[in-house]
Every structure is written in structure tokens, then in C-alpha cells.
């Protein structure tokens, strides 16, 4: 494999880098070479060490052994500022902006153009930001505060930041996890342009097709160790998955055929002013219905309103024939509804609490007697579900925040499945989790449906929507624009409806 590498010196490289955190060996002798004008993918399951590797390149972590090489010369980054000065720009998974400051200030923080006596030249800061956005071809107002920007726009701000100091190396940690198709296309356009100008790109994504789409070379990590570095050309997705998990993967979308039962969830003319309008649909027992659409189309908002987290202005929700009182999640839970929220860190879990306690949160009614907690009952209930979902942990009392993303997602699922729901709403169930866990989650959803649970799945991952759903509802700007059966649905038909090019009857508008 080495013979296929360019003759030139890599712009930035790691040679035999190891890094441990306490007893955990996050990286073991990993090497990586980034060349100018080349997009390099970093593949691996959650917990394989990708984030640690990035943070080593970014100067956040210092390697225990091994070297970071800049233009072939060993360097030591003592902090993110050093890496930045060396021309390394990092776009983290969760954009790191200052919400209270303007977009322009966000881009130039710490590097603002100055006028006499070291004062910040606010006018040229704004001018330079406008120029960057013009170059990127996006209409963002540089004076606007970063608060309230969509994730896609936040990422554009990060890219503008990278452009602003003529980064020689651009590192992107799962930039596409929260983006829609068109936003991904725009991002890739920008990245390709940068690459052609000679920027070295390191790209991480759980969406394999993106790796094949954008990158020339891929390095795979498994359990902190280096597995391979090779050109993407000639590889298949299966090859890559095999390198990542070290085994063949059972089918990624194990959809079982199920008997459809009675209507379990009936939503009629649900409206919330300015958020979604006139949303009606049904989900039957044994059915997986997917709610597709662009981010911001109002899908999660519908789910939240159905579950009673948010109020709605009109319409009604029935679960198993019983009408739900709006704005009352505890009654919804009682009626057999469960909602696995979109953001597991902020909404799904209490990050500082143990696995046991997190799962126990939904079960106080069962595990409490005369107002007192029965810790033993809570423990066995949690253990039962953690084992059933194959959560990987060393002790059930481990703090949830220390688990990998995929395992955290399993804990959220366990927490809600423990309530024995008849209708399960899952919002982006596999966002940011690795292929192996993803397949497990899919298998779980499929077997739940087979047991007669009605599943409503919100997802921005089109292959997942197409692979798992019996029926697909597509939303566009707060309205349902299409209802497609498994047979009718293709990437094209779903995207057409999601972007509003088709009305509900399926005719072109």
C-alpha cells in the first residue's frame, strides 16, 4: 500500500503515535499522512480512537509516544493555538461557536485585524467576514449573533474560519451528521474547491458513501490501533466495513415482514402555529413508519407535540383509541407512548448519572413502594434492559457520559423500552453512531415491530429510511407533502417531496 503514496512530503503526519487516558489506551502506534490537495478519510467505529487522533493533530492532546510531523519536521503543539498557527483548522462534530458574539467575531476571535494602539478594527473584521462569505457563495449576515444559526450554517462559519487563516490542513469530524442532502452537497463543493487549491483534508463520517464520494485515501482504525491506509479506488463499502469491525456485517437493514394490526397512533390535523400545520397520519401495530424531510421541516416538533413535550394549537392525538391530553408527557407515557429524543446528550440522558439510574428514570412507578425507592428493583430492572440491548459497560454504575455514542443511544433506548411502550417514537435513532451499533438498533426496531409495537422513526439518513420503513411520510416546511409506500419510495421521490417539489398527491407542483 505504501507504494501508492505520493512522493512528496506529507503536510501533516503522525508517526507511531500512542495516547492513553488512565488505563484506557485510546491510540496505539497509529500513523497517518496527510498530503496537500488530497482528501483523506478516517474510518472506524465509535471508540476506535478517531476523536483522540483529531485532538492530537489539533494540539488538544499531546502524544505519549510517537511524533507529529509538520512538513516532515517533528513539531510539538502545546495547545490549539500552536496547531492553528501551523495552519491546522479543525471543525468539530459539535460546532464550537460563541453564541453571544457576532458571526464575524466568531471567525476572527483572537486574530482580529487591528488598528492603532492594538485596538480591534471592528469594521475590517466585518468586511473580511463578508468577503469570506462572498467567496463561499453563501448569504450569511456577519453581524448576526451566532445564537440561533442552524448546524449547517454553524459549519459554514467554521469553514469560513478555516479559510480566514489559509489553513493548509482542514480536519472535519463528522461534519455531515446533522446536515440534509443539499447542505452536504454544498459543503462538499466548498471542500473540493479547497482541496484543489492544495489544502490537505482529513474527513470523518459514519456515512460510507460520503467517504467514497469525497476522499482519495482512507485510514481505518479499530480499538485504537491502525488497521490500514489505502486508496479509496478499488475498495467496496463491504471491504471498508470489514476493516472497521473486523468481521462481516450482517445486513445493515434487517427489515422483517410483519402483520399489521389495529391503528395504534392516530394523529389528526395537528397544528402548531408557525411550526407545523395540519399534520395527519396513522401508525398501525407492527408497522414502522418513517417521518422524512429536511432538518427544520418540523418533524421533531411533531414528535414532541404528539408526546406532549410541546403544546399544540389544534388537532388531536389518539393512542390505542384513547385521546391524549395535550402537553402532558406523563399521561402519554401512561397511555403507552415512548419518545426517544433526537439529542441524547441534552434530552435523552442525564450525562452525570449512572446507566442504572438513567434507565431507572422511567420506572419510578414500578420501583417505588409507599413513596420510597426500591434500589434493588431499580437495579435489576436496569440490568435486565442493559443486558437485553447489549450495552457495553464495565459496571452498571458507570456514568453514562463515559460511554461511546452508540452505547449511550442504547441506554436511551433501554430507558424507554423498559416502559413497555405500545407506540415508540424514535428521533434520529442512529445519528452519530457506528455501523455495528446501527445495525443492532435497526434489528431492535425491526423485532419490536414484529412484536406488535407501532414505530414512528424520524430520520435524516435516507438509506435508513428506505431500508427500514413500511411507509414514509415526508414533511416540508411544517406540512406533510407525501406519503409513500415501501415500493414507491426511492431517494428521488423522497427528496423531491422533502424539498417541496411535489405535493401530497404525488403530482409535480
Amino acid at each position: 500500500m505504501t507504494e501508492s503514496e505520493p512522493e512528496t512530503t506529507p503536510v501533516l503526519a503522525l508517526e507511531g503515535v500512542s495516547k492513553s487516558f488512565g488505563a484506557v489506551r485510546a491510540l496505539r502506534g497509529v500513523s497517518l499522512r496527510l498530503y496537500a490537495g488530497e482528501a483523506h478519510a478516517l474510518a472506524g467505529e465509535n471508540g476506535a480512537g478517531k476523536s483522540t487522533l483529531i485532538k492530537t493533530l489539533a494540539g488538544v492532546h499531546r502524544p505519549d509516544t510517537g511524533q507529529v510531523l509538520l512538513d516532515g519536521e517533528p513539531v510539538q503543539f502545546n495547545g490549539p493555538a500552536d496547531a492553528r498557527d501551523a495552519g491546522v483548522a479543525v471543525i468539530y462534530q459539535e460546532p464550537t461557536l460563541f453564541p453571544d458574539l457576532s458571526i464575524a467575531e466568531n471567525i476572527f476571535m483572537g486574530r482580529q485585524p487591528r488598528r492603532s494602539m492594538g485596538r480591534v478594527d471592528h469594521r475590517s473584521v466585518r468586511g473580511a467576514a463578508d468577503a469570506l462569505f462572498a467567496r463561499l457563495g453563501v448569504a450569511l449576515d456577519a453581524d448576526q449573533p451566532a445564537r440561533g444559526l442552524s448546524i449547517a450554517d454553524q459549519q459554514l462559519v467554521e469553514i469560513a474560519k478555516a479559510l480566514s487563516f489559509d489553513a493548509r490542513v482542514l480536519i472535519m469530524d463528522e461534519p455531515t451528521a446533522a446536515l440534509t442532502g443539499s447542505e452536504v452537497a454544498r459543503l462538499f463543493g466548498v471542500v473540493r474547491a479547497l482541496r484543489e487549491q492544495g489544502t490537505a483534508v482529513l474527513f470523518i463520517s459514519h456515512r460510507l458513501e460520503e467517504i467514497f464520494d469525497l476522499c482519495e485515501r482512507v485510514t481505518t482504525l479499530r480499538d485504537g490501533g491502525w488497521v490500514s491506509s489505502e486508496p479509496v479506488a478499488g475498495l467496496t463499502e463491504d471491504d471498508l466495513v470489514r476493516r472497521m469491525v473486523g468481521r462481516d456485517l450482517a445486513e445493515l437493514y434487517p427489515k422483517q415482514d410483519t402483520e399489521l394490526g389495529e391503528v395504534a397512533l392516530d394523529v389528526r390535523r395537528l397544528t402548531r402555529e408557525g411550526v407545523f400545520t395540519d399534520v395527519s397520519f396513522q401508525v398501525r401495530r407492527g408497522e414502522i413508519v418513517s417521518l422524512a424531510g429536511l432538518v427544520g421541516a418540523g418533524r421533531s416538533e411533531v414528535a414532541r407535540a404528539v408526546f406532549g413535550v410541546d403544546r399544540f394549537d389544534g388537532g388531536e392525538v389518539e393512542v390505542l383509541g384513547r385521546r391524549l391530553k395535550p402537553g402532558a408527557p406523563s399521561l402519554a407515557m401512561h397511555a403507552g407512548l415512548a419518545l426517544v429524543p433526537e439529542d441524547r446528550r441534552a434530552q435523552g440522558l442525564v450525562m452525570d448519572m449512572s446507566i442504572e439510574r438513567n434507565i431507572g428514570l422511567t420506572g419510578f412507578a414500578e420501583t417505588t413502594r409507599a413513596g420510597l425507592m426500591n434500589r434493588g428493583a431499580e437495579r435489576s430492572r436496569s440490568l435486565d434492559w442493559a443486558v437485553r440491548l447489549q450495552v457495553k459497560y464495565s459496571r452498571i454504575a458507570d456514568v453514562v457520559g463515559t460511554l461511546s455514542g452508540g452505547n449511550q443511544q442504547k441506554v436511551v433506548l433501554a430507558k424507554w423500552l423498559a416502559t413497555n411502550p405500545q407506540v415508540l417514537i424514535v428521533d434520529e435513532p442512529t445519528r452519530g453512531i457506528d455501523v455495528g451499533t446501527k445495525a443492532e438498533v435497526h434489528r431492535l426496531l425491526s423485532s419490536l415491530a414484529a412484536e406488535g409495537v407501532a414505530v414512528l422513526m424520524i430520520s435524516s439518513d435516507l438509506p435508513e429510511v428506505l431500508g427500514m420503513a413500511d411507509r414514509i411520510l415526508v414533511m416540508h416546511e411544517g406540512r406533510l407533502t407525501a406519503e409513500l409506500t415501501r415500493g414507491e419510495a426511492t431517494e428521488e421521490t423522497v427528496m423531491a417531496a422533502a424539498t417541496g417539489r411535489v405535493n401530497r398527491e404525488g403530482k409535480a407542483a
Partner: protein
């Protein structure tokens, strides 16, 4: 579709700009609102008691506010970095005594002020070191130093007291005289306020304080020297508390071991009433100064309109809650506007 697309795309930024102006106004209005309440209150009082805004009345208002304005300025800087300094009352007390003790021994006024500022900066550095290196919540750390400094003060001062007649005349006069209606002390506080405000707005390190208050994690990743900036904020806050101690001595001439007790809560109220968000990253020192002016003015307003001054603390409390409520409502409004704007931009882009 393609025919309608261009106008939509052109409209979006204009719409965005209009929304942005609204948001700007809302934030600026935060300081304007405090100023408006202050002016209304003073005018109303003047109407019911024409003696209120006499020359002496205005001078008194400014004198009363001076010390709180200084300490609130320092506190605002700390709060902007998403920390808090509860030890300012104790630091003010001990610096005032240190300056007085030195002056009683026949020292020069200028050195006494420098001494107070230096002592304050020293305690500020201690706070800064504990907060930034120890990574302990500022609330707890500075509550600790509040008691420690007050303890040192009590042991050192004992039952001694500094009185105005033991201080040099020049120093005491400086505390009472001024140019026309404006006391020297207020001029000094105003100059300090302006310098700190200008620093926060126009220097990289000042902007970095806003940045790290807005998002500490992002600040770390952006390579901002977080510890250094927190340290600077605390040293500045301590130094201003020390300066306020020296001015306290000049104004009142009377310092004992209880000077400045409980002052930290007044200072924090002033800062919050003035629109500096406790969550960091927003607000200005000018707002904090207006908040300080508002709170101290109430002390003068109530007797002038014949209300017992026992109401002062209750009214301060109400103002504080009102300020927080207004902040919350504004935050929700702004969030709603931004959301609509984002949705509009998005639909324009997809059209």
C-alpha cells in the same frame, strides 16, 4: 419555480438585516431601559419634591453611586467571563483600612491609593488563581475568600477604627469636593468605567473575555488563553474593589472591621439589573454602572418622597427579579425571531 427564485433570494438578506436591527435594538434597549427607569424615577421624585435635584442633591446622588459603580464595573468584567467574585465587599473593607492605617501614620495620599489598589489586585490574583487553576466553581471559591479576607480584616483591625480627623485634609477634601456639581470621585469612577468599557470593546483580550464567557469549551478550542483571561478579570475586579476601598475612606473617613460587609450582594444586584447576564458573554460595564446608579438612587428617592427607607432592600429585590424576568422574556423573543429568520433563510435557499 426558477422564475420566482431570484427575488426570494434577494429578499432574504434584506429581511435578515431588518430582523438583525430589531435584535440589536432589543439588546441596546436593555441599557436604555435601565436609563429610562432611572430618569423617570428621578423626574417623578423631582415633581413631588422640588428640592430633590438641587445642586447638592445631584452631587449626593453621584457621590453615593461612585463606589458601587467602581465595584460593579469590576464585577461585570468577572461576570462576563461566566464567573463571579463574592469577595469584593471584604476586599473593599480591608483595602480601605490598609489605606487609612497608612495615612494615619502620616503617609502620602497617592501612595495610600496605590496601596489599596495593589492589595485589592493581590486578593484578585488569589481568587483568579483558585478559580482558573483549581477549576472550582467561582461561587464557592470566592465565598471562601470572602470569609478569609473578612477574617484577616477582623484580626488585623480588631476594635480599632479610623476616623476622618486622623486623615490628611487633602485626602478628605478630595472625597468631598468636585468640579461644579460633579464630585472628583465620580469623575474618577467615570474615567475608570470608560477605560474598562473601551478595553472590553476594542482589545482582543477584552473580546476574548466575552468569548470565553459565551462558551468556555469553544474558547479552549479556539486557543484563547482561558486561564490568563480569567486571571486578568479577577485582578481587575480586585484592583477596582481596592480602589473603591480607598475612595470609601476618602468619602466617609470612617472605617472599621465591618466596612463593606454584605456589599457583594448589592454589587451583584447592580450588575444583573444593568443587564450583564449571569450566564456570561453578554452585557456591558456601562449597563452595570447604570444598574449601580439606579440602585443607589432609590436610597435617596425614598426619603425624598416620604417613604421609609426600610423599603429600600425590598425594592432592590423587586428590581432584581424584574431585571431577570425581562432578560428571560427578551431571550425568548430573540430566540423566536432568530428561529423564524433561520427558517426563512432556509426556505429561500431551498426554493
Amino acid at each position: 419555480m426558477t422564475l420566482t427564485a431570484p427575488p426570494v433570494a434577494e429578499d432574504a438578506p434584506a429581511e435578515g438585516a431588518a430582523r438583525r436591527r430589531f435584535i440589536d435594538k432589543v439588546f441596546k434597549a436593555r441599557e436604555l431601559a435601565v436609563a429610562a427607569v432611572l430618569v423617570l424615577m428621578l423626574l417623578a421624585t423631582q415633581l413631588s419634591n422640588t428640592e430633590f435635584l438641587s445642586r447638592q442633591g445631584i452631587t449626593d446622588l453621584l457621590l453615593n453611586a461612585t463606589i458601587l459603580v467602581l465595584v460593579a464595573t469590576g464585577q461585570a468584567v468577572v461576570v462576563i467571563t461566566r464567573n463571579v467574585d463574592l469577595s469584593v465587599g471584604s476586599v473593599l473593607g480591608i483595602s480601605a483600612f490598609a489605606a487609612g492605617n497608612y495615612l494615619q501614620g502620616g503617609g502620602s495620599s497617592l501612595v495610600a491609593v496605590v496601596l489599596a489598589v495593589g492589595l485589592g489586585a493581590l486578593f484578585g490574583a488569589l481568587n483568579g488563581a483558585l478559580v482558573s487553576l483549581g477549576k472550582v466553581p467561582a461561587l464557592v471559591v470566592t465565598l471562601g475568600t470572602l470569609y478569609i479576607v473578612r477574617g484577616i480584616d477582623s484580626i488585623w483591625v480588631g476594635s480599632r477604627q479610623i476616623t476622618a480627623d486622623s486623615l490628611p485634609d487633602g485626602f478628605v477634601d478630595f472625597g468631598h469636593n468636585g468640579i461644579w456639581v460633579v464630585p472628583y470621585l465620580a469623575l474618577l469612577a467615570g474615567a475608570v468605567l470608560f477605560c474598562v468599557g473601551y478595553y472590553l470593546r476594542s482589545y482582543r483580550s477584552g473580546r476574548e473575555m466575552y468569548a470565553l464567557g459565551s462558551s468556555p469549551e469553544a474558547a479552549q478550542l479556539a486557543g484563547i488563553p482561558v486561564r490568563g483571561r480569567i486571571m486578568t478579570a479577577y485582578v481587575l475586579c480586585g484592583a477596582l474593589a481596592g480602589l473603591a476601598g480607598a475612595l470609601y475612606l476618602a468619602r466617609f473617613g470612617n472605617v472599621d472591621s465591618a466596612t463593606g460587609s454584605g456589599y457583594e450582594l448589592t454589587v451583584v444586584s447592580a450588575v444583573v439589573v444593568g443587564g450583564v447576564a449571569f450566564t456570561g458573554g453578554s452585557g456591558t460595564v456601562y449597563g452595570a454602572a447604570l444598574g449601580a446608579l439606579l440602585l443607589t438612587s432609590i436610597n435617596s428617592v425614598l426619603p425624598a418622597i416620604g417613604v421609609s427607607s426600610v423599603w429600600v432592600t425590598a425594592i432592590n429585590g423587586i428590581l432584581l427579579l424584574l431585571a431577570i424576568a425581562v432578560d428571560r422574556i427578551l431571550a425568548l423573543r430573540v430566540a423566536a425571531v432568530l428561529r423564524k429568520q433561520a427558517a426563512r433563510m432556509r426556505s429561500a435557499r431551498h426554493a
